[in-house]
Structures are given as structure tokens and as C-alpha cells.
Amino acid sequence: MPGWVLKLAACLLTGVATAGSAGYVTSHLKSPSAPLNPRVVASGPVGRLTLTPSIRSSADQQPLTFTSVS
């Protein structure tokens, strides 16, 4: 096979790959306004705290320690 055929084939292949990549990127632009995935359905505490009168509370006092999941 003549050398110029190989060179022509390589040039054609490179051209097709470049054009294909450009087309793919153009048609799959990243949208900055796309929704987050996974979607945030709620944030922050949504529970209800019902304290009996015998338990005092204060939103201002710093706690010494916390009850928490261990």
C-alpha cells in the first residue's frame, strides 16, 4: 500500500474524531442552573420538641455536652 494512502487515512480519521468531539461537546453543554443531584428535599431540623414543664430549656445557654447518634 502506498504511503500517501496511509497518510490520507490518518488525516481523515483525525478530522472525523475532531469534528465528532466538537459536535458532542456543543450539544452537551453543562448548564450552571441544572438541579443538584441528589435533590435536597429538606434541610435543617423538621422535628418537634415537646418538653414537659419539669424540664427547663434555654436557647442562650451553651451546653456542656450533647446527646447524639453514636
Binding site: L49, T50, P63, F66, T67, S70
Partner: protein, 272 residues
């Protein structure tokens, strides 16, 4: 005025002890006691008393006062939770991938290859008599769901009249605290002053390791619980009761938990 305090790692979590007017060395002795209980009661050490008990299923085994008391506590927790707080789910937890300490990472999950049935009622698999206990063959005990609150209660008895014991978030506050109002504890986004009361939180925001995989097994299915709650915190007369009520409410799910907490203990929950 600030209290004496000591923080250390044990029971697979962070423990904090606070005391007001506690004798010198009392908190250090408390730490040593917690570490001794951990060595005795952990399921992750083959040489622990609990592991030996699980390995001897089918036979009556002599048990220490501490293990006997906790096995009785497990039966009490099962009874007052309507069977939801169940210490006999060891094999189900291991099948879900919690076969070694959480810091070592999950083990192979067998949930798709092992048929997991509802776990039998605890009194049908565990018998306790003075100084001895027997476990039904094919089952194992994991005290991770009830021990910390119970231990916090017992340690508070040892530390004195005015102390706060927090074992990984399950705690008991004894006495009036530093200024007579009770011990200030962070709870559900506020600070509550606890005096001779326990508090505990149950949930899956920690100790979870995959899609629907976590450490809280629902004995009705033998699988990690499916619930629409992320965590529940409860205040009760003792750390043990708080831990039981928090787990029960968590396993019940949001709608029933609201009713349950109204009936049993002040609580707070977080939905994902």
C-alpha cells in the same frame, strides 16, 4: 465555675464525664470502669465475656453480675418496646455488614444471599437465672443498642451526687449541676437542663455504610430498619429508658413516633 471533666474513647465512641465536687480521681476511676465494661461486653473481641456467652449457645453459662444485669435489661427493653428493641439480632447485624468495629469498615453484606426471617421474640431465645444464662442455639446477643444508657446510669451512681455521664450521646445527669438549674445538655437544637434524668439519641446518621445499610435492625424483618426518620432524641427518667424510647420511636417511623413520644417521653426527631 467549671466542672471537673474527662473525655476519652471507649465503647467505640467518645465518652465524657463531668463532676462537681467529685472526689479526686473519681473521673479516672470512672473511665477505668467504662473500659473494663467494654472489654467484658464487646462483641468484637473473641475473649470478651459476651463473645464467650454467644459461643456457648445452647448451654447454661455462668455470667458475671454485670452481664446478668444487662441481659435482664435486654429483656426489659424488649418488653417495654413491644419487641422492637431487641438484643438478639446479632446475626442479622453481621449479615448486613457490621461484623467488626465500625472504624475497621463494613464486612461482606450477606443480605442478598442469606434469607433473613423475623427474629424470634427475645424471651424465646434468652433465659436468665441468678448467676447464669442460656441462649438458644443459632442466635447471638449484641448489647450495643442498650448498654451505653444503662452504663451511664450505673456510672453516675458511682461518681457521686452531682455528675454528668455521656457515653457516646447516651447520657445521665445526676444532681443539680453547677448552678442549681441542672446540667446543660444540647438537645434538639436547644439546651435543656437535666437533673436526675437521662437522654439518648437513636438514628442512622452515623454507623451506616451503604444503600439502606445501617446498624439498627428491625426485628420484624431481620434487616436494617426502613424508617422515614433520620434520628430521634428522647429525655427520660434514666439513660437506659431514654435509649429504649429513642430506638422504639425511631423504628416506629415518623407518624407513630409522634404519638409514641407524646405518650412516653419528651422527644425530638429529625426527618431526612
Amino acid at each position: 465555675m467549671s466542672p471537673d471533666s474527662l473525655e476519652f474513647e471507649s465503647l467505640g465512641t467518645t465518652c465524657s464525664l463531668f463532676g462537681a465536687g467529685t472526689p479526686p480521681g473519681a473521673l479516672a476511676e470512672g473511665r477505668a470502669w467504662v473500659e473494663e465494661m467494654h472489654r467484658r461486653l464487646t462483641r468484637f473481641e473473641p475473649a470478651s465475656e459476651l463473645s464467650a456467652f454467644n459461643a456457648s449457645a445452647g448451654d447454661w453459662v455462668r455470667v458475671s453480675p454485670a452481664l446478668e444485669a444487662l441481659l435482664r435489661e435486654a429483656l426489659r427493653a424488649h418488653r417495654i418496646s413491644g419487641g422492637l428493641v431487641h438484643a438478639g439480632v446479632l446475626h442479622a447485624i453481621i449479615a448486613a455488614g457490621y461484623g467488626r468495629t465500625f472504624s475497621q469498615g463494613p464486612t461482606v453484606t450477606a443480605r442478598d444471599t442469606v434469607t433473613l426471617d423475623p427474629v424470634p421474640l427475645l424471651p424465646n431465645m434468652l433465659e436468665v437465672s441468678p448467676g447464669a444464662a442460656r441462649l438458644r442455639p443459632g442466635y447471638g446477643i449484641d448489647l450495643g443498642g442498650i448498654a451505653k444508657g444503662w452504663l451511664a446510669d450505673r456510672l453516675a451512681e458511682r461518681l457521686g451526687e452531682n455528675c454528668l455521664v455521656n457515653l457516646g450521646g447516651d447520657l445521665f445527669a445526676r444532681g443539680a449541676g453547677l448552678d442549681g438549674r441542672g446540667w446543660p445538655v444540647g438537645f434538639g437544637g436547644t439546651t435543656v437542663f437535666l437533673r436526675n434524668r437521662g437522654a439518648a439519641t437513636s438514628g442512622t446518621r452515623r454507623r451506616s455504610w451503604g444503600d439502606g445499610l445501617h446498624h439498627l435492625v428491625d426485628p420484624r424483618t431481620g434487616r436494617p430498619a426502613k424508617t422515614d426518620l433520620a434520628e430521634v432524641s428522647v429525655i427520660a427518667a434514666s439513660g437506659a429508658d431514654a435509649e429504649i424510647h429513642a430506638k422504639t420511636a425511631f423504628l416506629l417511623g415518623r407518624r407513630a413516633a409522634e404519638f409514641y413520644l407524646e405518650q412516653n417521653a419528651p422527644g425530638w426527631y429529625l426527618a431526612p
